[in-house]
Symmetry: C2
Subunit: 393 residues, 2 copies
Amino acid sequence: MITIPDRVRSVAMPPIDALNTHMSRMNAEGGDVISLGQSVPFFGPPHQMLDAVRDAIDNFGPRLHTYGPDAGIPELRHALARKLREFNRVSFDPDTQLVVTPGSNQAFMVAMTTILEQGDEVAIASPYYFNHHMAIELCGGVVREIQLREEDGFQMTMEDVEEALTERTRAVVIISPNNPTGTVYRAEEIATITRELTERGIYIICDDAYEVFCYDGARHTSVAGLSGYVDNVITLGSLSKTFGMTGWRIGYIAASAELCRQALKVQDAMAICAPIISQVAATAALEQMPEYPLSMISELDERRRVLEAALDKIPVLHWNKTDGALFAMVGADVAGEDRELAWELLDRAQVLTVPGSAFGAQWGGFLRISYGCSPRDRYEEALSRLVEYFERL
Amino acid sequence: MITIPDRVRSVAMPPIDALNTHMSRMNAEGGDVISLGQSVPFFGPPHQMLDAVRDAIDNFGPRLHTYGPDAGIPELRHALARKLREFNRVSFDPDTQLVVTPGSNQAFMVAMTTILEQGDEVAIASPYYFNHHMAIELCGGVVREIQLREEDGFQMTMEDVEEALTERTRAVVIISPNNPTGTVYRAEEIATITRELTERGIYIICDDAYEVFCYDGARHTSVAGLSGYVDNVITLGSLSKTFGMTGWRIGYIAASAELCRQALKVQDAMAICAPIISQVAATAALEQMPEYPLSMISELDERRRVLEAALDKIPVLHWNKTDGALFAMVGADVAGEDRELAWELLDRAQVLTVPGSAFGAQWGGFLRISYGCSPRDRYEEALSRLVEYFERL
């Protein structure tokens, strides 16, 4: 009876949700699975944010309970504009160039719905962030993969991008620091890509969710801060990772006034507005604790080194160490398994990692390991389990 | 430089957001505008809900801050299943047949993205809810209007629906009590429509946001509770209006397990999950105060009678009184204006109503008046201003 279009039916089920469900079931049955899976930082939001939420419940009045402006409450838009000015060195007008969304996944979906014609192509680096892949296809777009190579540390060059471009390319997505590889793209390559794509009138969608988390001197490049582009750069941001508040669902679009004006139609039809309580929380986090994300870098960097040391003890796993985000895309020379290694590890070592194939069919020989998500002791316990599992193999 | 597809460019800017912005500017400049515009109830959420939020901040732990399951936290899905069982007399499996969304607008967008092929038609009653119109077009669908008539009290029959059906019709939307007309559709007509559409394999999308608010003995019909349909009914619900929590953004999809399974892909790519704090709030509201929405009916009904009495004093306005939701679609025999009456009323009487054209081009001779949104004294003041304005005209 039910007919579902191929466009939807052909999309794989969300991989993380399935893994988490499996993990919850195992733990409910007495298991003790540790997650190195999801892109959730080990830390929660600053207590100042929670104080502000408590205060809002008592004092914010009816505004807390009713729809706010589609683009976001003015306080938050101003706080975001300041963050963009001070951290990213880019100026956005909070009244016309910012749209607050319920998470940056939604920011991506709003952007896609705003710019894509049916059949338009969007180029994304592979290994890719699966939610972007899904969103493009669900919006009627066509994914083109920019093939990256592990031996290059998953860096992306204009030559790589070039190979994925066609007459129908409407947009190229840049995630740096990258999910799933952790790669921070080189500033000069991003500048070249930006210049070339701008000349051809192709949108550049920058997902800056991990912008703060760079190590070993690597630095995030704010594409909207580069010279030489026109209105074709759409910056997507998130407070989820940087402020440890993934469950509060606050992201944003920063772009030209005209793009935002059009995107607001989509926002209105999709979300009306982001939840007010979360907007109040995000405002407090940004205003009162702007340095909070920076304070997490050294712990994340340490965990990254701990991962490197653990992987050194496992001959069949190798990581071309990357210097951003909270992920490692780890290659596994393990052949002959009936199913992917990640599922074996989940059932036998009680460690949740994400199968490489979630990031593109050809990445089945990899695992995405998040070194940022579990408490430190659990994280180290998980790594010990991995070492032990592979020793026994 | 920027190219936006016609599909997006041709969509009108969200009408309510523009009106609210104008109102805010007037009030900031010393004005005193009263809103009879937005579909926001006069009451806020029950205090038990806010207590539960305070408690969650102190005691819920890390779960509050991180992503939850795509479909919603289990507590809320179970509370919704109970609400559906007890209020709607329909049984849904909370594990497979419910998806919690950030508002029911998003539930509609998820449903559209899940079921529509490019160019598929969706039939909606006209006057229509503009966000549905926008969402269908933004998803690449085509809107067919089911023409209703004021003289029939905007009731919808199978004959009306029939005229809008074509070979490409994928879905018909039923909103009862209706936005913007306030009409509660007759149970026997809904049963006929359901039977006919089911035989033809057409989806029925029921937006039940106003299900509680019926007056004069009118009763909401839960289509999913009717016999004779298969898996083609998709029920969309909201806590926004019934619990006075529009700003918290909690809605849901209740449908077959297969539809929900496919919709979860869209949900994951669009929202990942609804904000956890709002889900906790909604759970508390449903569990602790299930009767809360019912307690608002008598006040709303009184306001409805107050509106009727006020309109009786204004010869050029007429309302074919309807018996649900919180709206009146009021006809205005006012000709020769350069712009729509609603804008005149906003500037000259400082009363915000919604221009009829927001609900379809041919409804320019109407205003949507919400009798539910302002505090009682302000509401009555607004009606006095309307009476006075038209007396002077």
